[in-house]
């Protein structure tokens, strides 16, 4: 069984000293999502699980100093998590050789399957040291990917603005979205910078708007689409819509899907003389 | 090849009916079906633009509206004056929503100006050299022709964007491919006097005389045109030119469709060449 196979692989990695720690999913009480476990001994691998509640993007833990202190890790990733890993690699945040990556072929998480999984384009990770399992439930037609966004964009700009005013008014600025994002790795986030206050930090709608615009745009052309932020939001703001908006624009304007090509140059910080400019007079 | 809309214009159904004969016969031989614009009206050239600017847009606009109504994406207008007026009006319409509205009211039909108007050369370009060559039955050997474009095939260049307005080569390209020899000469785009025939004949005779002389001096044994007015001035007026300038040019003036038709094996009568004023029969220098 796949879970056994995963444990076996991890046991060997720890036993032969390839890695010092396994970052994987551990069991949780029924009805709850799995939680991250950090296993340092071959015996410990029995804690590892693999099921449709392995929701978290564990890549986010790679940026934590306390995790780094444990030594070379092996990490369990799904295809969407892996895209974040590739982006980190492109942005010099990760020496690929210093991580052992265990890819899991993924049928999708959540019951029922999450939206991002129903339209998942990858399912099987591509750049891993080892890939376990195979896909048994393929994604629906790829065209479904932008359905939610397209539906949203049918609203008038005024309606969209009203929607976000209503949604963002509920934001409590807990920054869980930032915390779980594998690509939010700044040592000091600009919201924490007060001279000057580039982003209004007041606990107001203005501050919330500024924060969410910034968060979404800092992820533009980078976001792996793992939806960790959306899951993490305690008040249920649909951040996925903003991420999708950037992903779609990135794909349509630059034929680029972030995290799918380790060799590619990041989109921001490069340019093409032929980039479109019909909006510039 | 699909159907092409066809706007003959007044001249082709009047004194230049030889031209229409030639165009129709040649294109038929090339399997191009011409769909004559039903109930077309005069485009207003060459008088409307001098008397009433609005009318000079409205008359072509009515024809463009008919073309749109009758589903012609492309419209052949073998008379360059007609095609220029149609293109000019079409561009003005396409550029201005206000004008579209106004003209739709005046001409009593919706009009957008999106119809593509072609001159005679363009229709052959569209057919393409390979297809033309493949259809040749009698190569134009022995023909040493001066290609005469006159004014309005290439001018105003900013509007028409057809060929090089100073050194055009499109007719040469076609005729060379059909076996003719074309001469390099200087009056390809000089004016022949155009519509002044009636009101100011002297001018026409002077200008046409120069054109004929230069073509002959550069070794042409005939001239090819793609304009009814050019044909009238260069062909019909040769006798008057002789009277005035004392030079008998005796040059045959062909329409482009004449020479192509001849190459395709059509006879002179079918093409209406026998209706020209200067006609050389079997013993002509052109051996056609």
């Amino acid at each position: 069984m796949l879970e056994q196979k995963l444990r076996q692989t991890c046991r060997e990695l720890l036993a032969n000293g390839t890695v010092k720690v396994i970052i994987g999913y551990g069991a949780a009480p029924a009805g709850q999502a799995t939680r991250a476990v950090f296993i340092t001994t071959p015996e410990g691998v029995e804690q590892l699980v693999w099921n449709d509640r392995c929701e978290a993007n564990l890549v986010a833990y790679l940026k934590r100093p306390e995790v780094r202190a444990l030594g070379k890790p092996a990490i369990v990733v799904k295809a969407c998590d892996e895209r974040a890993l590739v982006v980190l690699q492109q942005e010099a945040q990760l020496e690929r050789a210093n991580v052992f990556v265990i890819g899991m072929a993924c049928d999708g998480i959540g019951a029922p399957r999450e939206a991002k999984c129903r339209s998942c384009e990858d399912q099987v990770p591509r750049f891993c040291d080892v890939v376990l399992g195979e896909v048994t439930k393929p994604a629906d037609a790829a065209s479904a990917r932008w359905d939610e966004l397209a539906e949203f964009m049918k609203k008038s700009p005024e309606e969209r603005m009203a929607y976000w005013q209503q949604e963002l008014a509920r934001c409590v600025k807990c920054y869980a979205c930032r915390q779980v994002c594998p690509l939010c790795y700044c040592q000091r986030c600009i919201v924490d910078k007060n001279r000057p206050t580039v982003i209004s930090t007041s606990p107001s709608l203005k501050g919330n708007f500024a924060w969410h615009v910034t968060r979404a745009f800092h992820l533009a052309a980078r976001c792996a689409g793992c939806d960790a932020c959306t899951r993490a939001c305690p008040v249920g703001i649909n951040l996925r819509l903003l991420n999708q908006s950037m992903a779609k624009a990135t794909e349509e304007n630059f034929q680029c899907r972030p995290g799918t090509d380790p060799q590619a140059q990041p989109l921001i910080g490069n340019y093409a003389t032929g980039d479109k400019e019909e909006f510039i007079r | 090849m699909t159907d092409i809309g066809y706007y003959p214009g007044c001249a082709l159904q009047g004194s230049s009916n030889d031209y229409e004969r030639s165009v129709r016969a040649t294109l038929q031989a090339l399997q191009v079906q011409l769909q004559e614009l039903d109930d077309w009206i005069c485009c207003g050239a060459s008088a409307a633009h001098t008397i009433n600017h609005k009318l000079s847009v409205a008359l072509p606009a009515r024809n463009l509206a008919l073309a749109e109504q009758q589903g012609c994406a492309q419209l052949l207008a073998p008379c360059p004056m007609c095609s220029m007026e149609l293109i000019k009006a079409g561009k003005a319409l396409a550029d201005s929503p206000a004008l579209r509205q106004e003209m739709s009211d005046i001409v009593e039909l919706p009009v957008t100006g999106r119809t593509q108007v072609l001159n005679l050369i363009q229709i052959f370009q569209q057919i393409g050299l390979p297809a033309l060559k493949a259809a040749v039955k009698q190569p134009l050997e022995g023909v040493s022709v001066a290609c005469y474009y006159g004014c309005l095939l290439t001018r105003p260049s900013a509007l028409l964007a057809f060929d090089d307005c100073e050194q055009p080569v499109s007719m040469e390209t076609i005729l060379t491919a059909l076996g003719a020899k074309t001469v390099a000469w200087n009056f390809k785009t000089e004016c022949c006097g155009a519509g002044m025939t009636m009101a100011n004949e002297e001018t026409v005779l002077n200008l046409s005389h120069k054109i004929l002389s230069n073509a002959a001096a550069h070794g042409a044994n005939c001239i090819v045109v793609a304009c009814p007015m050019c044909h009238v001035n260069l062909d019909m007026k040769q006798a008057a030119i002789e009277q005035r300038h004392g030079v008998r040019h005796d040059l045959e003036i062909f329409y482009l469709s004449d020479l192509i038709g001849l190459a395709l094996g059509l006879d002179r009568q079918t093409l209406g060449i026998d209706r020209h004023f200067v006609v050389k029969n079997g013993n002509s220098a052109c051996r056609l």
Partner: protein, 149 residues
């Protein structure tokens, strides 16, 4: 920016411009005495590449009814490629603003060279007149007034 004494709506327009092309284009409009509405406040930056997206948000926060971002034409950047980098960011940023329901008629981008004093005049006049017709940018000022927590 002080409200107009008569109480008539006067649009507030902030223009983020590069030092070498558009700023000089505005200078040229001046030396050529090309008149345009007095509603624009120019913020001079060395290059469009320097203009970060937070500045646009900040502009709306301080009550701008429209914002212009303008620099050198592609290929003419004083720093060779700052404007190319900027253009790429704008392509994406506009999409984000659009998704969030910002009024895209209030965010303008232009290439205006040092020689285009006339273009500066036309673009600015056009923006101010368009904004005047649209009225104040109420949607965002509402955001700025409301305290949520």
């Amino acid at each position: 920016m002080s409200a107009h004494p008569t109480g008539v709506f006067e649009p507030k327009v902030i223009a983020y411009v590069c030092n070498w092309c558009t700023y000089l284009g505005a200078d040229l409009a001046g030396t050529s005495r090309l008149e345009y509405p007095a509603n624009v406040r120019i913020v001079r930056l060395p290059c469009t590449g320097r203009i970060d997206f937070n500045l646009l948000i900040k502009g709306f926060e301080v009550g701008a009814d429209a914002i212009l971002v303008s620099g050198c034409h592609p290929g003419d950047c004083h720093y060779t490629s700052g404007n190319f980098h900027a253009r790429r960011r704008w392509i994406l940023f506009r999409q984000l603003l659009d998704t969030m329901g910002f009024d895209m008629n209030r965010i303008h981008f232009a290439w205006i060279s040092a020689a285009e004093g006339k273009k500066f005049q036309h673009v600015l006049t056009d923006i101010v007149e368009q904004t005047r017709r649209m009225g104040p940018y109420a949607a965002y000022s509402k955001i700025c007034e409301e305290v949520s927590c």
